[in-house]
């Protein structure tokens, strides 16, 4: 009983005590009270991690004498209103995913930070910085580019417009009684279309179908209309390059590529490839596809193809891709993404190619390692192995079970119906499953997916760099990782670029340690002060 009373009394006395000890500025020397701040975060339908993270982070920040209003926002609303709509009120805590194209630093430096960049929802604009991050994009020489990228990170660090709190750790759990050589795709999440673990897995039993217990359906087999940037369709349609588990971009349908000029890439196709209907893959198909894409500008592809000017054939296996401006990120962002359509099945199509129902027309045909077999909406997809492919997997096919909920996925993994699960189940739950069941193995996938803390850089108090830095010092990355993400996230490094990006990350940025007292001291130094209730006030004007 006494304990209960003390627990109740503590939150009342704590701020008063702090105010009594640390208070130097008398009330009349203070400016206005810092108003309540809104924290927007992904609503619970994206998983409870965001709510939990926002809660623990704000708990620490409120020790600076701040009060917060928690505002859950649905994913789509968050994106259109806050990320690209400029509707950030005060603060946001949210994540960006570990997409394969984000292994290039441009996304982190430019897309989320440059003046006027579409996804710069923190509304920070620094012309000198923006010029730097635009320039690095055009540096085809890598050493030079790395130096520029690191310099930009330093600039960002010194200004501190926003910061990452944690890097997401993904996971996968698979049936090790039936499958071996299931390899990690880190730092990219186990997105479909990658080599690892999808193509490298090997069956140990007669069951030679790799069953992926998944949450969602695939929505189309027409790659021109596909919304997922790196989806399942890349199994059916080959791309020019692929990302491997070392984070490198390796030759795939293209045997080699070379910048002959800053805006011209010469690409040589691999020899002996065929489409699933037996026709050979030639430079004509690649040129046809790229020119069609440039002509049609399918909305779903717009972010990746915006810089493409067109393609022209050199010989049967060689062609040139023309770029509008020099683009150093072309290799990592476009080559593993752009696909090859069979010209003979598409050239004479009269209707709207983007809207074509390729399954109904029987032309879900590419040259990829798997051939389309069946699709029952919201239930199952089956792709069978295309044996003639140069990297055909050592099993008969892959199935995607659209189970729609975590409990079914868990049950599928336990019963042996599912061979691998990578999504939906929280990583902690996957890890638990593997610990409790001998036939399941678990692998952590540390990724560059990041949870970011955004501030509205155009609104007080965030217009004050001293305030931003104090908030940064009061950000408990550790608690967010442990309590928000159940330990399946790691505290992020300094600067906007995730440290998982290896050579692109500026490891020289000094680490800022979490310290509430230091943050309060910094605020005091900048002229802020606290009233008798312990609430933070602006400096006197």
């Amino acid at each position: 009983m006494k304990n209960a009373f003390r627990r109740l009394a503590l939150p009342v006395w704590l701020p008063v005590g702090i105010a009594a000890f640390g208070n130097v500025a008398a009330a009349q020397e203070l400016g206005e009270r810092v108003p309540d701040l809104q924290i927007a975060y992904y609503a619970a339908d994206m998983g409870p991690m965001y709510e939990q993270s926002a809660r623990v982070l704000s708990e620490e920040w409120s020790k600076l004498g701040l009060t917060f209003r928690m505002q859950p926002v649905q994913f789509s609303t968050f994106i259109s209103n806050i990320m690209v709509g400029g509707g950030l009120e005060d603060m946001a805590v949210f994540t960006v995913g570990a997409d394969p194209d984000r292994v290039d630093p441009t996304y982190w430096l430019h897309d989320l930070g440059a003046c006027g960049a579409r996804r710069n929802g923190a509304k920070w604009c620094d012309e000198a910085y923006s010029a730097k991050v635009r320039e690095q994009r055009e540096m085809v020489d890598q050493t030079q580019r790395i130096a520029a990228v690191k310099q930009a990170q330093q600039h960002f660090y010194d200004t501190m417009p926003w910061w990452p709190a944690t890097n997401t750790v993904y996971g996968m759990v698979w049936n090790s009684d039936k499958w071996e050589n299931v390899t990690s795709p880190a730092p990219v999440a186990a997105h479909e279309g990658l080599i690892d673990p999808w193509l490298s897995a090997k069956p140990k039993t007669d069951d030679r179908w790799f069953d992926w217990a998944h949450y969602e359906d695939v929505t189309t087999y027409n790659p021109l209309a596909e919304e997922g940037a790196v989806g399942w369709l890349r199994f059916v349609y080959d791309t020019f390059a692929k990302n491997n588990s070392k984070g490198e971009t390796i030759p795939w349908a293209a045997a080699s590529w070379e910048f002959t000029e800053p805006t011209n890439v010469k690409i040589t196709l691999r020899q002996g490839m065929t489409f699933h209907d037996g026709e050979a893959v030639t430079a004509d198909d690649a040129v046809f596809t790229i020119n069609k894409v440039v002509e049609l500008q399918p909305p779903a592809m717009s972010s990746r193809i915006a810089n493409l000017a067109g393609a022209e054939k050199v010989d049967d296996l060689t062609f040139n891709i023309k770029l509008k401006t020099p683009d150093a990120s072309f290799v990592t962002t476009v080559l593993p993404y752009a696909f090859i359509l069979p010209e003979h099945l598409w050239a004479n199509y009269e209707g709207d190619m983007v809207a074509r129902d390729v399954v109904a027309d029987g032309v879900a045909i590419g040259s990829g390692p798997f051939r389309f077999k069946t699709w029952r909406i919201n239930e199952i997809h089956e792709l069978e192995t295309f044996k003639e492919h140069f990297q055909a997997p050592g099993y008969d096919g892959v199935r995607r079970l659209a189970l729609g909920q975590a409990d079914a996925i868990r049950s599928a993994m336990l019963s042996g119906t599912g061979d691998i699960a990578t999504m939906v189940l929280p990583v902690a739950a996957m890890s638990d499953l593997a610990t409790q069941n001998n036939h399941l193995d678990f692998l952590e996938i540390p990724s560059h997916g990041s949870m970011l803390v955004w501030l509205n850089n155009q609104k007080a108090p965030f217009t004050d760099p001293a305030f931003r830095k104090a908030m940064r010092v009061a950000t408990s990355k550790e608690r967010a990782a442990v309590e928000g993400w159940l330990g399946f996230a790691v505290p992020a490094g300094e600067g906007p670029v995730p440290k998982q990006l290896g050579m692109w990350y500026n490891a020289d940025l000094p680490e800022i340690t979490f310290d509430i007292e230091a943050a309060r001291a910094a605020l005091e130094q900048a002229g802020y002060g606290w009233d008798a209730q312990g609430r933070l006030h602006y400096p006197k004007k």
């Binding site: 189309t220 940037a229 909305p299 717009s302 029952r376 909920q405």
Partner: protein, 321 residues
């Protein structure tokens, strides 16, 4: 009689129009943005507008509304934003899947409920059977359907391992229509079906019991009893006359229950139309969500209409005006 039917029909059409309109504006004022996923990946403004235009989301709300109604009149629900194909193609297989658990589940639930309800109603008033029956039925009626699902899954799937815990069939089985006639399908069907039966039975039971209690004191029952026929036959007479309110209640209840099966579909990962509706709402796939909603509303209206007409057919006392 004919005039009455015509008037009721006209009324039904009006009601459907009103529901459609409410629904249309609800979806359009939704603050959500169906292009969000693409935006997050860097969709440009021009491309976004092109997409919105293609989906018929540009122009004034009124124009969109008129276009929508026009399409609806010819049975065109438009195309799914997500699947990029006609909504009909997306929904038809899912509707069939839902009917597989809904129809047998509701019929069995109603039949079982009616049978037990007759027994309870015919039992001695205030006796043990009556009191237990009423108590159990009321308690079971209070179990939310997802709790029924969770309980069934935990007991029969994870603990005993008798039934599979999700989906409609093991992968790699028959495709096409033949799949509905495999043991594998029936095996998967069992648990969700039982869940629907349990969900639907108690109300039938209580209703039937009330009807029987009401009828057993009527003169004609005494008459039948006086003829010296068996207890069972007498009970049957009382039951037959209690069917009437049950049947009229059944139609709207059927429709409403089908709409409520959403939750059971989700718990059991049953690829039905209800699950698709929930997914479509979260994915901002309005055309699919609207169509599913529309079909459910039409079903309810038709059920109410049928109930009225059947009531008149069965009960000679009703005179149509």
């Amino acid at each position: 009689m004919r005039a009455y039917i015509l008037r009721r029909l006209a009324q039904s059409v009006l009601v459907i129009w009103a529901v459609t309109t409410i629904m249309f504006f609800m979806f359009r004022v939704m603050p959500a943005d169906p292009t969000a996923i693409l935006l997050e990946r860097g969709l440009s403004d021009e491309a976004r507008n092109a997409l919105l235009e293609q989906w018929g989301l540009t122009g004034s709300l009124w124009d969109q509304y008129v276009a929508y109604l026009g399409n609806l009149l010819v049975g065109d629900f438009g195309s799914s934003f997500l699947y990029r194909k006609p909504v009909w193609e997306v929904l038809t297989p899912l509707i069939i899947n839902t009917l597989w658990i809904a129809v047998p589940g509701l019929l069995l639930g109603a039949a079982l409920g009616a049978a037990i309800g007759t027994a309870v109603g015919w039992a001695r008033r205030g006796g043990k059977l009556e009191r237990t029956g009423i108590f159990l039925a009321t308690v079971i009626r209070g179990v939310p359907n997802f709790v029924i699902g969770i309980a069934l899954l935990t007991v029969f799937s994870s603990t005993l391992g008798w039934f599979p815990g999700f989906g409609m069939g093991d992968p790699g089985q028959n495709v096409g229509f033949a799949r509905y006639f495999t043991l594998d399908f029936l095996h998967h069907l069992a648990l969700p079906l039982i869940a629907v039966i349990i969900y639907f039975m108690p109300e039938n039971l209580l209703l039937m019991r009330s009807g029987v209690v009401e009828n057993r004191t009527e003169d004609y029952i005494e008459l039948v009893r006086a003829k010296g026929v068996s207890q069972g036959r007498v009970a049957w007479h009382a039951a037959r006359n209690s069917m009437l309110p049950l049947i009229t209640w059944l139609f709207p209840a059927l429709a409403e229950t089908i709409a409520g099966i959403v939750v059971i579909e989700i718990v059991f990962s049953w690829p039905g139309v209800g699950r698709e509706l929930v997914l479509a709402v979260t994915r901002q796939d309005y055309p699919v969500a609207q169509a599913a909603f529309f079909l459910l509303a039409v079903m309810i209206v038709l059920a109410n209409l049928a109930a009225d007409l059947v009531y008149g057919k069965l009960d000679p006392r009703v005179v149509y005006k």
